[in-house]
């Protein structure tokens, strides 16, 4: 036999062998399967209840739930664990899971590229439902998220992302939030019953200083106002009147983001304005002085949208603002602050306040030629260095509960680390199997899903952090 043919067959077999399938069912853990998996493998998770945090730090793993009738694989945080699924491997797909009762993130993608999050159902009360951060070239499609206390869908400091055909409903915070990201398509989503439907949010004080080229198109943004349960949580806020509150009841909020396109959306039954555009000086949602961030929303394009029965009963901050203008109802577009080179189609036919400096968009302006924001080919993704993994773990996992100097869910790190100074291994061992130490804090959830070398390096990092 021709040795090249043999080589070709072998290569094919080897490839098939490399892309193996590992099936998991209760009482096995998903993490044990991930630990056995090689890059390119599929981990099939049978229906059942899995009480764990899953950490995927291998490339090209497909973590695929199996749905049988109405039986799903359910990841249950039991209201004690922080994160459901954490992904830091490139090219990972997470699909067909029910993720519920986690306190931090349902599904988080940390510094990984070429990811897909498909057909999952995420239930609160976490901070975020689905949260890609520092990712490039990702797809988030057909997920349903509700009951989240922060943002149901949160695209953080990422680029080339499609968020399509998802439903975000009855979340305490925002339905879909895009924060300091570039080239994001938000299309065909149904966002209803959230504090605000969709938010394009440029936040000062973060390492990424721009948000631009987000297209919000063909979405149903309907009846967004705080869920009734919000009243129970309202008294826990420490926001005082010196800070800008988010204008709840708004359909789409653009806060300082540039080159946003809003086209073909149905805005219906939102009690506040369907579209609210603000700069940071007025918005002050995050009043951090950060002059590397341009505070003004520039080059916004508001094209053809359908506005039905919005603005009839403004609430919260919007109500206060409108009262100052001696109005009781919100317009279809409200602009508070400064911005440059913004335009709207049919300026005279849209009820608006504050658009004096806006121009009429060029006739025929449309984003119809845009099919996706993702890249044609997977973006080249060198594996994360250990230091990057450590810093991302600190950011994604540790700071979810610990501030350096202040009390959060856990004690200040500056105090918590004292018994471990000079002995990082002791700290690494402890975070894998923590015990309750302080009467006035909850027990720390175990971080044993982290590989030992990552735990050790994170421990070293935590012990070395300097107090400025």
């Amino acid at each position: 036999m021709n040795r090249w043919l043999v080589f070709g067959i072998c290569g094919g077999i080897c490839h098939i062998a490399a892309a193996g399938v590992i099936t998991v069912s209760v009482p096995q853990t998903i993490q044990s399967a991930i630990n056995r998996a090689k890059p390119g493998d599929t981990v099939r998770v049978m229906p059942g209840l899995y009480k764990e945090t899953v950490f995927v730090d291998k490339d090209r793993v497909r973590l695929s739930g199996v749905i049988q009738g109405d039986r799903w694989p359910v990841l249950d945080g039991e209201n004690t664990r922080n994160d459901g699924i954490l992904v830091s491997g490139h090219g990972v797909t997470v699909e067909h899971f029910m993720v519920e009762r986690y306190l931090g993130n349902g599904i988080m993608i940390q510094g990984a590229n070429n990811f897909a999050v498909l057909d999952n159902r995420v239930e609160g009360p976490g901070f975020y439902g689905i949260f890609p951060q520092y990712g490039q070239n990702g797809l988030i499609e057909r997920n349903v998220i509700s009951g989240i206390h922060g943002s149901a869908m949160y695209i953080g400091m990422s680029r080339n992302i499609d968020v399509v055909h998802n439903e975000t409903a009855d979340n305490f915070g925002f339905g879909i939030e895009v924060e300091n990201s570039q080239r994001v398509l938000i299309e065909g989503n149904y966002s209803h019953g959230n504090m605000i439907g969709v938010v394009l949010n440029l936040i000062p004080g973060l390492p990424t200083k721009e948000e631009e080229q987000v297209v919000v198109r063909n979405n149903f943004i309907v009846a967004n106002k705080p869920p009734p349960e919000k009243s129970a949580a309202a008294d826990t806020s420490v926001i005082d009147s010196g800070s800008g509150e988010p204008p709840e009841g708004t359909g789409l909020l653009i806060n300082g983001a540039d080159a946003s396109t809003v086209e073909g959306n149905l805005f219906e039954g939102n009690p506040g304005p369907p579209i609210f555009v603000m700069d940071h000086k007025f918005g002050q949602l995050f009043p951090v002085p950060d002059p590397k961030v341009d505070p003004f929303p520039d080059e916004t394009r508001i094209l053809r949208n359908l506005f039905v029965d919005n603005g009839r009963a403004p609430i919260g901050r919007t109500k206060k603002i409108l009262a100052l203008l001696k109005r009781t109802e919100a317009p279809d577009v409200l602009m508070a602050g400064y911005g440059r080179r913004n335009c709207i189609l049919g300026k005279d036919s849209v009820a608006a306040i504050g658009l004096e400096s806006w121009t009429e968009c060029a006739p025929g302006s449309t984003s119809a030629n845009l099919r996706t924001m993702r890249l044609e080919k997977p973006v080249e993704s060198p594996s994360l260095t250990l230091q990057q993994r450590v810093r991302l773990t600190w950011l994604a996992v540790c700071t979810g509960c610990h501030s350096f100097t202040m009390r959060l869910h856990g004690p200040p790190m500056v105090a918590a680390r004292v018994p471990y100074m000079g002995n990082p291994q002791k700290l690494a061992d402890w975070i894998a199997h923590p015990t309750k130490k302080r009467a006035d804090y909850p027990a720390m959830p175990p971080q044993s899903y982290l590989p030992p070398e990552v735990r050790l390096e994170v421990a070293k990092y935590v012990l070395e952090i300097k107090e400025p």
């Binding site: 925002f174 926001i239 590397k292 004096e356």
Partner: protein, 343 residues
């Protein structure tokens, strides 16, 4: 002895719940509304907010102590005591100079607390800052009432009173801000350049910050800021606000000139914390204008200043809940004069 108002206690579990809600509210932009009369109840924060000022027998000793404390411009408790002592010296007297000093101290303290509050991305310490602001606002209100009764047309006292109003107004009360602007405008018309152009500076800042729908206008801000700059050519704030205004108007050359002037100021011409803070802002603006050399000059000057004065506040934004801090992909701090691998 002086302390911030005590706040009723609450179970720790409730505090924990609140902390979590606060964090999500801030970092996930899922704020929960709270009106001014529903201020947070947090025994920890209340404890942190406490400070103690040394007691003095007479006004002369209080004034002397306040003078000594006022130079500690990076120390919230020193500034708090300065405000309290100045208030005690002025209150009930007919000493115009004492009122000038007291209003200045209260305004300085409010601005300092606002800065602390704004750099706290996670809002972890906001309850304390809110308490401090409430306390300062109460001092300011009493002083303002006395000023209105005794010196209603005094330009300097009117400017300082207006500055306090403006500083406390917040973004949702533009009418209060514009009302303060009106009073300060009348004062600077009576006495241009009073207090080294502070009135003009505050008016210009207000016009920059208030949205057009409520009467703000960048082109109205510029002449006031130019007058403030002429009155105090070495005030870094006037230069920075002017740079911002010119940048917003698209006058990049003018903005660049202001930044170059800001980068060349002697640090000691202002208080050192203000110089350090304005140079940080200068680095940011220069970076946004793609002037790397100028940004680097700010970095170099600020780093040298911070190195030689470790008591100055770095203004590094704490890493909380997946946000802030150094870039996890590169390990670089957001501002080059910040120490790396710190919180």
């Amino acid at each position: 002895m002086s302390s911030l108002p005590r706040i009723p206690g609450q179970p720790v579990s409730a505090v924990r719940t609140r902390k979590r809600a606060v964090a999500s509210a801030v970092l996930f932009a899922a704020w929960l509304l709270c009106s001014a009369d529903q201020l947070p109840v947090n025994p920890e924060a209340a404890a942190q907010a406490k400070y103690t000022c040394q007691a003095f027998a007479d006004k002369a000793a209080k004034a002397q102590a306040a003078m000594a404390l006022s130079v500690k411009t990076s120390d919230k408790n020193a500034l708090a005591c300065t405000a309290d002592l100045r208030f005690e010296v002025a209150s009930g007297s007919h000493d115009r100079g004492a009122y000038l000093a007291a209003l200045s101290a209260v305004l300085r303290y409010i601005d300092h607390v606002h800065s602390l509050k704004y750099f706290d991305l996670g809002h972890t310490n906001w309850p304390e800052y809110v308490l401090r602001l409430q306390h300062a606002a109460a001092l300011g209100a009493k002083l303002q009432a006395d000023v209105r009764a005794n010196w209603p047309d005094d330009p300097e006292l009117t400017i300082l009173s207006g500055g306090i109003e403006q500083s406390l107004a917040g973004p949702d009360d533009p009418q209060r801000t514009m009302s303060a602007v009106e009073r300060m405008s009348a004062a600077v018309n009576r006495k241009p350049g009073a207090l080294g152009g502070l009135g003009e500076l505050l008016i210009g800042k207000s016009y920059l910050e208030v949205p057009p729908i409520f009467g703000g206008a960048v082109d109205k801000a510029v002449p006031y800021l130019e007058r403030a700059h002429r009155a105090s050519p070495n005030d870094p704030r006037a230069l920075r606000y002017l740079a911002e205004a010119y940048d917003q108007l698209g006058e990049r050359d003018q903005a660049g000139r202001m930044l170059v002037a800001l980068s060349s100021l002697p640090a000691q011409d202002s208080d050192l914390q203000t110089s350090a803070d304005e140079w940080r802002m200068g680095e940011g603006l220069a970076s946004r204008m793609h002037d790397k050399a100028l940004a680097q000059k700010f970095v170099a000057r600020r780093t040298a200043l911070m190195d030689s004065h470790p008591e100055l506040l770095v203004r590094k934004i704490e890493t909380v809940l997946g946000h802030g801090g150094d870039d996890p992909m590169t390990g670089r701090p957001q501002y080059n004069s910040e120490p790396a691998n710190s919180h």
